[in-house]
């Protein structure tokens, strides 16, 4: 009887282990062929564009403030 119980418990353990075989899918494919860098590049270009716009706007406003200060 104890042997039966033990083998039953071991079966449960084995069943539990096999349920976790598959790993969550990740973008390993994109990493393997380096295409992930395309994603990085695209977003980097967008960011660079936005930040360039901000810098240009910042400079313009600084110039306006300075001109105002001079004319007073």
């Amino acid at each position: 009887m104890p042997r039966l119980l033990l083998s039953f418990l071991l079966c449960l353990l084995a069943a539990g282990a096999s349920a976790q075989e598959s790993r969550p899918d990740m973008a390993d494919g994109l990493r393997a062929d380096g295409k992930i860098w395309v994603v990085v590049a695209v977003l980097a270009v967008i960011f660079a564009g936005i930040l360039t716009y901000l810098v240009a706007l910042d400079r313009k406003i600084t110039r306006l403030e300075r001109d105002d200060k001079r004319s007073f």
């Binding site: 977003l43 810098v55 706007l57 910042d58 105002d68």
Partner: protein, 236 residues
């Protein structure tokens, strides 16, 4: 550093460069860095560096707005009212971006963009209250009256954020991590590798919001000075 600032013709150079550097780091490390592999989330766990900082940024910007509103109530200086509005507008922008990115994320992980999740609902209500603030302002013609009403409304709107966004979602069933009995990201999935990118992301995105805000404020001041509605202030 002073020469740099003079050359680039920008004020507050250090924190703006900091913002740039942080966001560039977050962008590259966010996509290339290691993350835990989780079912359902898969690679979208990286959204932690983009969607979540929108909300932290929003809270920070609304806090700044509330602060300036209180300063206005105490001093009556119309410039504080202007600052308060521009901080708030940036906060609204971040909230819209956060909501949209959240819905995109939810569409793929929760199965639908809108699930009547308590946090989604709470956030929507808060956003509506801030939209109402902007509409209310446009309805009042007199500057001083507008500023006073706005400032008082601002304090209430800010106070509403806490029960609706932080308390209520934790008390009821929720899909969001960290709410409704779910393990928070910080307990299970936010390992130190992600923290290394998440914290700089929060700071970087907030600084971006701050940059946009200060530009808008300075622009308004220039306009008002030229219209003669503001005394020429010392270049502060």
């Amino acid at each position: 550093m002073y020469l740099c600032a003079a050359f680039l013709k920008m004020r507050g150079l250090w924190w703006k460069v900091g913002c740039l550097v942080l966001l560039a780091y977050v962008l590259v490390a966010g996509l290339m860095g290691p993350v835990p592999a989780r079912f359902i989330l898969n690679e979208s766990i990286r959204n932690l560096y983009f969607h979540v900082p929108m909300w932290f940024g929003m809270i920070g910007l609304f806090a700044g707005s509330c602060w300036h509103a209180i300063v206005y109530l105490r001093t009556g200086d119309i410039r504080s009212d202007i600052r308060s509005v521009e901080w708030l507008k940036a906060g609204v922008l971040f909230s819209v971006l956060g909501m949209v990115t959240g819905m995109i994320w939810a569409a793929y992980t929760w199965g639908e963009p809108w699930s009547n999740d308590p946090k989604q609902l709470g956030t929507a209500v808060c956003m509506l209250s801030y939209f109402a603030y902007l509409i209310l302002r446009s309805g009042v013609a007199d500057d001083e009256k507008r500023a006073k009403i706005s400032a008082v409304y601002n304090v209430f709107a800010f106070a509403m954020l806490f029960p609706l966004l932080f308390v209520m979602p934790r008390l009821v069933d929720s899909l969001h991590p960290g709410n409704g009995g779910n393990p928070a990201f910080s307990n299970y999935d936010l390992d130190n590798r992600m923290r290394l990118i998440f914290y700089p992301a929060v700071i970087g995105w907030f600084l971006l919001g701050l940059w946009i805000t200060t530009l808008r404020i300075r622009m308004r001041f220039v306009e008002l000075r030229r219209d003669g509605l503001l005394p020429a202030s010392p270049h502060a």
